[in-house]
Symmetry: C2
Subunit: 187 residues, 2 copies
DNA sequence: GGAAGTATTTAACATATGATAAATAATTAC
DNA sequence: GTAATTATTTATCATATGTTAAATACTTCC
């Protein structure tokens, strides 16, 4: 859990007591490549932290597999559109390499918010930051060409291409795999 | 301020004391059409609530004016990528009709979070909800055609077209004004 | 280590949206 | 109320990305 608590420190330092409370509702899980951590249709009740490995959120749009986002080591991944609404998610979380993740029970976490305002603040800050990333991503999708988006991805996350099949990268960039292949061919 | 406190009730009911604390750091402002509430380059230190009127967030991308979002009556508008990072915003908030807004000083608001966890929770819930909207908007931009996006906009926000110049709607939809005009012409 | 299954690339053609320019329509200001 | 400005539409042409299909390349598994 150490890397999880280190990750937290970047947002809000917790008291030992609060850390203990979070540890009690979390567990470390080893997950095999290509397994779904949480399936489509399931109401999200877990926030995951990636200790080792890669995960993605995906869903089906008209029968084709769409990747919403990736998460690598030392990052959190959750289907917020379900987590924050209590509605079943149309999305799934899939593990892309043999991985080790920390699973935090969100139902119990939200209960801790009453007793530990510092925990509520921590997750407020984490999700505010994720919200900002999402706002910035809209701009990237809407006003950059596929090629520009590909170039900034390899610049900002060069590991993605090494660790994730290109077909998943393509839908993350909002294009078909064929288009991605063409863009890569140009260089 | 009544409509503001009613808006809050949809997220987290506040004690009278907390309401009073928020009232003390807020003021009602009348704003004329086409004025910038906050200019580009300014670090966002105000959260606005629209009592009456319409506002938009916009920025310039390669010299062209891009609308990021609109806000109508009984909604909040803020440049979160500045509010939550403390960095100057590349975006501005503009009023599109003679309007009345409530301006909440965010520096003072964030200070209230320590004394009133209920206020911190309120804004956590407000922004979690806005975050979910943003995640859903990505899907809409990425995997629906311009025509589909236009149709769902007139379905979900029919007022937009009546109250907002089409050129602003076009960039909000991620297309040029000419394309929007063509799409409207088809029907 | 070869067969079967997956992933990636390449090619040819189709189409939605962009860019530019010009025509109308609506608004604003004196 | 007319002129000036601004917003919207229409038309033409250019281009990025989509679609389909087939060819390679790479993995996985018995």
């Amino acid at each position: 859990m150490n890397s999880l608590f280190n990750f937290f420190k970047g947002y809000n330092s917790l008291s030992k007591e609060a850390e203990k409370a979070i540890a009690e509702i979390s567990k470390i899980v080893a997950v095999k490549k290509n397994t779904d951590l949480q399936p489509i249709g399931h109401t999200c009740k877990t926030i995951y932290f990636i200790n080792k490995g890669v995960a993605r959120i995906y869903y089906f749009k008209d029968g084709t597999d769409i990747t919403e986002c990736f998460a690598f080591e030392n990052n959190i991944i959750a289907r917020v559109e379900s987590l924050f609404t209590g509605k079943p998610s149309r999305k799934a979380i899939q593990i892309l390499e043999d991985s080790e993740v920390v699973a935090i029970n969100s139902t119990q976490l939200f209960k801790l918010y009453d007793k530990y305002p510092e925990i509520e603040r921590l997750f407020r800050l984490i999700f505010e930051s994720a919200y900002v990333d999402t706002v910035n991503r809209i701009e990237s999708i809407q006003f950059h060409s596929a090629e520009e988006r590909y170039n900034s991805l390899i610049k900002e996350e060069p590991n993605v291409l090494k660790r994730v099949p290109l077909k998943y990268v393509a839908s993350y960039l909002g294009i078909t795999q064929v288009s991605l292949s063409r863009i890569r061919g140009i260089k």
